[in-house]
Every structure is written in structure tokens, then in C-alpha cells.
Subunit: 203 residues, 2 copies
């Protein structure tokens, strides 16, 4: 029991560090910021951080793994919430944008795939591919049931991932647009595009 | 005259270095690669590179400035090619994707805004904002003339920039999809979205 509590406390502390790291990375960029700035933001000695993470790379791996775990959960929830792939897609887009931009982790570090340590890279890329495949499957199901349409589901998936992931580069929590409006706006754009006229050969 | 030729030769050499750098950054990521790897790729001594660029940061600034200059030119061309904002937008999307992914520069380094040296940052961010505003203006003109439609042109612009910029993270020149198909697919997605049903309240 004591051990369980300890585990929970460590996990909670790691999430606090991640939230601080996320804010620091957002302000200064992942490469310019170090463990020292994260510790400063939390008002603790930098040595305390090393009890929870061996270094910035370990923190990055934890961040991405946690984020991808939550994204995979969003896909599961979407599939439980509705049988309609268009609705599932909308659910996932909103979940993805919130996940990456909420105060808790995600954020800029989600994009830093090249900076992963070799030991973590394969495991995390596997998770990333699993999530991206799941998203693509929703689009493919939508095309096959006739509620979505696109010429190349793999390309559409990447285009959507780009629009969603890019939000961490420009969206500011203190800006004019709140997180729900951001998520809804991206969802609207992904589903309906910008054109007024119907697509070539469409109905 | 001799001076002009010299300038042209220096510029041509810089573009060659940029092409090599672009390939190296794509393979290894901007932060993991150094001037040494770029020189190796070109089969020259690393010292030769320093005649053209003071270091990786100078190369990065040159790369972004060159890329943004070409993107701004794409906008001008789009406006000359057609009066229809929807066609202008399609022209820009295709130009942007080609610009970022063609063999000559652009590529991954276009995204490394945080890594710019302080001395270059303001100048390049100004160019970047100029380009992003020009893109947004095309969307706004389209909305006002009735050929495009979106609730928030600033959000739509960022969403589109995300989808386009993200291509440098996943598109591979040697993959199954050529650059024209990539550009056309992104354009189709940006204009028409994924939904089959009309948008809420739309006609």
C-alpha cells in the first residue's frame, strides 16, 4: 500500500515537472531550455528534478509517451461515443488539440521526434505510428461507409496531423481564442474545407 | 563586372551548400547535424563552408530568408495568374509545398524559428508575418467575394500553414507520392475538407 502511494506520488510529481517543462519549452523552445530553467520555474533546486528524470531526454520521452497514451485513449473514447466515422473524427480532432495544448504536458515537446534518445525512439515511434494508423482507419471507414470522402486517406491523415500539431507553435493560452474555439475551428476546417463550390465530380 | 560575377558565384555556391544542408537536416534533424556533416555530404573540407556561412545559425537564417522570399514571390505570381481568390489560394498551396520540399533549400530548417540567432530573428519573423498575412488576405478576399467561406480566417490560415509545413516532417522524395501529387492532395483537402455532408447552415 505504501509502495502504491509512493508510485502515485512520483507520478504526480512527474506530471508537475512536465507541466513546468511544457511552459518553459513553449516560451524558449525545446533546445534552448534546460533542466535548470524548469527547476527555476518550479522554484526548486535542479538536483531535485534528477530524482524524477535522468535528464531532458528522459523528460522528453516521458512527455511523448504520456501524450501518445492519452491520444490513443481519445481514439478509444471516440469509438465508444459514436458509430459514425465523421463524428469519431470530430471527437479525435478536438481531443488531439486539447491534449497537445492543455496545461498539462503535450505541447511543443510532442513534435521533437528527432531529439529522442536512441533507446526511447523505437518504442515511441511505434506508439506514434499506432495512433496515426488509428486516425487513418477512422478516415478510411468514413470513406467506405460514405460519410467522408478523400482521394488519399494517408495524405489526408498527415494533412490533418499537421494542422493539429502545428497549433503548439502558434496558439497561446492567453490569446483571443480559447482552446474550445481552437479545437472547433480546426475540426470545421478539416471536415468542410474553405471552398464554397462543391468538389470536382462531387454531388 | 568581375564583382557581379563573383557575387553570382558566391550565391550559387551558397545555394549548393543549402541543398546539401537541407538533405542532411532532413535525415538527421537540424539539431543533431553540424557543419561537418554538411561538408562531408559535399565532399569538401569543413573550413571551405565557413567562407560562405559563419556557422549553422547563419546558414539557417539564409535558408529561411531565401525560402520566405520565394514564398512571397509565389503570392505575387498567384495574384498575377488569377483574380479569383480560390484559384490564388490553390496556386499558393502548390507553390508552398513545392518550395519547402524541392531539392533546393526550404525543408526542415524552415520550421526552426526558435533556433534563429537573436540578430536574425526579428528580420526573419517580419518576413514570415508578411507572408502569413498575405495568405490570410487571400482567404479574407475569398470570403468577401463569396468564393471561400470560413468562420475565422486567421485560424484557417494557421491550419493550412500547419498542414503545409508539416510535409517536411513526413514527405520523402523517394516515397510513393511525388511532389505534384502531394501539392494537389493538400490543396484538395484544404479547399474541400473530408465531409460529404454540407456544413451546418450552409447551402
Amino acid at each position: 500500500m505504501v509502495q502504491v502511494l509512493d508510485k502515485e506520488r512520483v507520478q504526480a510529481r512527474r506530471m508537475e515537472i512536465l507541466a513546468a517543462a511544457s511552459a518553459v519549452f513553449r516560451e524558449r523552445g525545446f533546445h534552448a531550455a534546460g533542466m535548470r530553467e524548469i527547476a527555476q520555474r518550479m522554484g526548486v533546486a535542479v538536483g531535485k528534478l534528477y530524482y524524477y528524470f535522468a535528464g531532458k531526454e528522459a523528460l522528453l520521452a516521458f512527455c511523448q509517451e504520456d501524450c501518445l497514451g492519452r491520444l490513443l485513449q481519445v481514439v478509444e473514447e471516440a469509438e465508444k461515443a459514436s458509430d459514425d466515422p465523421a463524428r469519431q473524427l470530430a471527437y479525435i480532432v478536438r481531443g488531439h488539440v486539447r491534449c497537445l495544448n492543455s496545461e498539462v504536458p503535450g505541447s511543443l515537446a510532442h513534435l521533437e521526434v528527432e531529439s529522442l534518445a536512441a533507446a526511447d525512439r523505437a518504442r515511441i515511434l511505434r506508439l506514434r505510428r499506432r495512433y496515426e494508423r488509428a486516425l487513418q482507419k477512422v478516415i478510411e471507414r468514413g470513406v467506405s461507409t460514405g460519410c467522408l470522402r478523400c482521394g488519399d486517406p494517408a495524405l489526408a491523415t498527415r494533412s490533418l496531423l499537421g494542422a493539429m500539431n502545428w497549433t503548439v507553435k502558434w496558439w497561446q493560452p492567453e490569446g483571443r481564442m480559447n482552446l474550445d474555439d481552437l479545437a472547433d475551428g480546426l475540426c470545421e476546417h478539416a471536415l468542410h474545407g474553405l471552398a464554397v463550390s462543391r468538389r470536382k465530380g462531387g454531388t
